[in-house]
């Protein structure tokens, strides 16, 4: 039970937000994580307060996935080579393709197909695979503690820090060149005037 619903949380934990990405979209990028990015508020649980909140085990697409890692999905070992991954992907893609699925199980098969597709996209790219592997090692502990969520939240937040640090340096860089040139905005003209009058 690596991605099951957290014990103790209410049924509301599985509530699918109306704005959720529909299931048919094959997400670009690596999104197959337990915790949706969206904050769910701390009502889901009797957990203690503040910095961490429980997240339902609903992925971005809105349905609960009860299986294991991408590796298990493709049926290969964690150290699998690129060829192995490709072969497994092709096999499974052929099996689960909507056009060849049995008519009464199209939906389930289509879902699987999308998952397989995403698994391949993640694992076939070495950079993405490395990140995925790292998360997986933490993810294995998921069902047994909430420390992962805590770490993940911290990691999210530290990720934010890199982001805004860059933004601040970019802001400073831009401000060097801001008021030069033709076609100045009103604000730029006022700043120039103020600068000139303070020089006088």
């Amino acid at each position: 039970m690596s991605f099951g619903v957290v014990p103790g949380s209410s049924n509301q934990a599985l509530h699918v937000w109306p704005n959720h990405v529909p299931a048919t979209r094959i997400g670009g990028g690596y999104r197959w994580r337990v915790a949706p990015r969206r904050r769910e508020g701390s009502w889901s649980a009797g957990l203690s307060s503040s910095s961490f909140r429980t997240r339902a085990a609903v992925d971005e697409r809105g349905f609960v996935t009860a299986k294991g890692s991408f590796y298990e999905l493709l049926g290969i070992s964690e150290g699998g080579s690129y060829d192995e991954i490709k072969k497994a992907y092709k096999q499974l893609a052929r099996k689960y393709h909507p056009d060849v699925s049995p008519p009464d199980r199209t939906e389930e098969y289509t879902r699987r197909f999308i998952e397989v597709q995403e698994a391949y996209e993640t694992l076939s790219d070495p950079g993405r695979r490395a990140l995925y592997d790292r998360d997986l090692t933490r993810g294995l502990h998921l069902a047994f503690s909430t420390r992962k969520r805590f770490d993940e939240e911290l990691e999210d937040r530290s990720g934010w820090r890199d982001c805004w640090q860059d933004q601040i340096s970019e802001l400073k860089r831009r401000s060097m060149n801001k008021d030069v040139g033709e076609n100045l905005s009103w604000g730029a003209q006022m700043r120039r005037q103020r600068a000139e009058s303070s020089i006088e």
Binding site: S50, S51, C163, L171, G187, R191
Partner: protein, 709 residues
């Protein structure tokens, strides 16, 4: 006493820090107690009860550092660690004060760190800090010299519950309604530029307030003018009020919230930046410009429509930022402050409403607005009343109507709790629309619904409907579309003060040619008026009802009202010489006045006009002809019910004889916040005032004086 310090007030500190502050005397035991609390806190305990975990002070909590801060200038030399401590003490102070007075708790708790960081980094009052809506300004007030006045919060002659220019020079702009801060901040920035000054201007606006159009109007203009200013988005993912319906939290309304949430996902962007940086390194320093361009495009691509929206409007986006991390906040604010010529900067800060007080964090409504409560248990002291609020009665009436008529739909603007439509949405989830804080859109949206044959009920507070006045005239009244307006909080509203006071709705609705304007005098009348409004299908209609509870009359069977005859009032007491013609809740005051007057031997007539438009002309005529004096009473401004009666009387020749007409309306000024009784007293509309007026018009000044003393 008071030394078993709640662990929650020091969320991120280790026991060693606790010990350096609090160890002394016989504290070893409590220190160990705290240590144990802190340790256990880290593990998730499903179902642990809060009472086992910490204590909250019923008396004033100790705040050694906060005690040394009277004004922001005292904060200038504090270290980050001290600022964190200050934030914690500030939090406990707010919890303590709001527990004693009631007020807006959750929002204030969410911005404690932000407030501390702002006042540390900037120099108020020269630097202008504007708080949108203002209900989250309690930490700001405490830090700007008003801490000792906090016990008077939201009471007569005390602190306002919102920012108010006349209260303090640190309150740069008055607020109460939402989404005005960016506009005002831009005005202040441009004014500063024209005057040649150099201060900073900062607007703090919440994600709920961002759903209103005015915020975009302002950002659009700010991007164009390019004046230096800072807009801080306080994003706590709560866009509707109270931030839940009856069954749990509301998923955010509108597409904007998901865009904001996507912004918080930094991972893919970070990766791309790493790659871009790597590329720059390899190519060499001269490709600096190229890398910057890649950065810009990358941001647009990866972050999706979110930050690009603000960037396209011309604001420089920074974020997301952890709004409870003092380090981060102070760093960013100081960096932005020290950068010259930035143009408008938009900082996206992520906070948690109710942070630091577990009862608030766990509550579905995050303790947005609370009555007095007990800090130790979080329980609010709500007095039990025999009758329910008019809001609840309205919801029940609407539900009863909607049961039989499938076309009835309800619209509100982010006020599910305040309008009572949370009950409605539970019963009819597909027929209730929350448009976010967008009253103008709500009205025109209702007009569109009416075009298609539906029966929309727009439940918007009287003062909030002011914002949508042109839509009411142009989209609804002019085209004679049958939109029904349920205006709650009409008249004086008590502790929220003049910004929320619904004094003008009679005037602004009754002057519209096609509008039917009515007001119930008690809750049974409210049920009937909801039914009447539902039945009026060829023109718009509205009805107003006050804040507060019903008077205790019997309700119609199964909550289903009976439509009234439009344009007909009723006489409640038959008397002589003087007629009191009341409109809406004022009728109750008239009845009380009548019993006061009767003690002095005069029996007056009391009538309930019910309709301001169309006016019950026969009733007014008969009252005017059979009485010496006609007094019209309403809890509204000049230009309302009384004026319509006077207009009719004048045109009908009823003022040409011996009849005297006197109006009793709200005075020509804004009545400050206070208890409803205090406000009514100040307005001069209590039963005593009405009774005294009766006697003074009759020339019986002695009786008038007796009543008033």
């Amino acid at each position: 006493m008071a030394l078993a310090l709640p662990a929650f007030f020091f969320p991120s500190q280790k026991p060693s820090l606790l010990s350096s502050h609090w160890l002394g005397g016989a504290d070893l035991h409590s220190y160990q107690h705290q240590y144990r609390l802190l340790k256990t806190r880290k593990k998730p305990c499903v179902g642990a009860s809060l009472s086992e975990r910490g204590e909250y002070h019923s008396q004033r909590p100790p705040t050694p550092l906060l005690d040394t801060i009277n004004f922001p200038i005292h904060m200038k030399n504090l270290s980050i660690k001290e600022l964190k401590q200050l934030a914690d003490e500030l939090r406990s102070d707010i919890i303590f004060h709001v527990s004693e007075t009631g007020g807006h708790l959750g929002s204030s708790l969410g911005v404690v760190e932000l407030t501390v960081a702002l006042h540390h980094a900037f120099n108020a009052p020269q630097d202008k800090i504007l708080w949108d809506v203002g209900h989250q300004s309690y930490p700001h007030k405490i830090l700007t010299g008003r801490r000792d006045k906090m016990p008077t919060l939201r009471q007569k002659n005390g602190l306002s519950g919102f920012t108010k220019r006349s209260e303090s020079e640190y309150d740069s702009f008055g607020a109460g309604h939402s989404s005005t801060s960016i506009s005002a901040a831009l005005g202040m920035a441009v004014g500063r530029d024209l005057k040649g000054r150099k201060n900073n201007v900062i607007a703090v606006i919440g994600d709920g307030a961002m759903t209103a159009g005015q915020a975009y109007e302002a950002m659009n203009n700010a991007g164009y003018l390019d004046s230096d200013m800072i807009v801080i988005l306080n994003d706590n993912n709560q866009v509707s009020l109270p931030t839940a319906n009856l069954d749990g939290p509301i998923p955010p309304v509108g597409a904007l919230s998901s865009a904001l949430s996507r912004l918080q996902s930094s991972r893919p962007l970070r990766e791309l930046r790493e790659v871009a940086k790597g590329v720059t390194k390899q190519i060499g320093g001269s490709m600096h410009e190229l890398a910057a361009k890649v950065d810009e495009y990358a941001r647009g691509m990866i972050s999706g429509s979110g930050s690009t929206l603000f960037e396209e409007l011309g604001l420089y986006y920074i974020g997301p930022v952890d709004g409870h991390n003092m380090d981060d906040l102070v760093t960013i604010l100081k960096e932005v402050k020290s950068t010259k010529t930035t143009g408008p900067v938009f900082i996206h800060v992520v906070t948690e409403k109710g942070r630091g007080y577990p009862y608030a964090e766990r509550a579905a409504d995050k303790y947005h607005g609370v009555a007095k409560f007990d800090p130790a248990s979080g329980k609010q002291f709500k007095s039990s009343t025999k009758t329910q609020s008019y809001t609840k009665y309205f919801a029940e009436a609407l539900m009863a109507e909607a049961e039989v008529d499938k076309d009835i739909v309800a619209i509100h603007a982010a006020m599910g709790g305040g309008t009572g439509l949370n009950y409605f949405v539970r019963r009819f989830p597909a027929r209730c629309f929350d448009v976010g804080i967008a009253e103008q859109h709500a009205v025109t949206f209702a007009a569109g619904l009416a075009c298609e044959g539906l029966k929309p009920f727009c439940a918007i507070y009287s003062s909030f409907l002011q914002r949508a006045y042109d839509q009411v005239i142009h989209d609804v009244d002019l085209q004679k579309l049958p939109v029904r307006f349920a205006m709650d909080r009409a008249g004086l509203v008590g502790a929220d003060g003049p910004t929320h006071c619904g004094s003008f709705d009679v005037a602004y609705m009754a002057c519209l040619p096609n509008m039917v304007v009515m007001a119930p005098s008690d809750e049974a009348e409210l049920f009937h008026m909801v039914a009447t409004a539902a039945a009026i299908d060829d023109r718009p209609s509205c009805f107003r009802y006050p804040r507060g509870n019903g008077v205790g009359v019997p309700l119609p069977a199964r909550n289903k009202g009976v439509p009234l005859e439009v344009g007909k009032g009723r006489i409640l007491i038959e008397g002589e010489r003087v007629a009191l013609l009341g409109y809406g809740a004022a009728v109750q005051a008239c009845l009380a006045a009548a019993s006061l007057v009767e003690q002095h031997g005069l029996k007056v007539t009391v009538a309930d006009a019910r309709f301001c438009k169309p006016l019950d002309r026969a009733l007014v005529r008969s009252l005017a002809k059979s009485h010496e004096v006609l007094i019209t009473v309403e809890e509204g401004s000049i230009g309302g019910f009384g004026s319509h009666v006077a207009q009719f009387m004048a045109l009908d020749g009823l003022l040409d004889g011996a009849t005297k007409w006197r109006p009793m309306v709200l005075p020509d000024g804004y009545i400050d916040h206070g208890s409803p009784a205090d406000q009514l007293e100040e307005a001069g509309l209590t039963p005593y005032h009405i009774a005294a007026t009766v006697f003074s018009i009759l020339g019986q000044t002695r009786e008038a004086l007796e009543i008033m003393s």
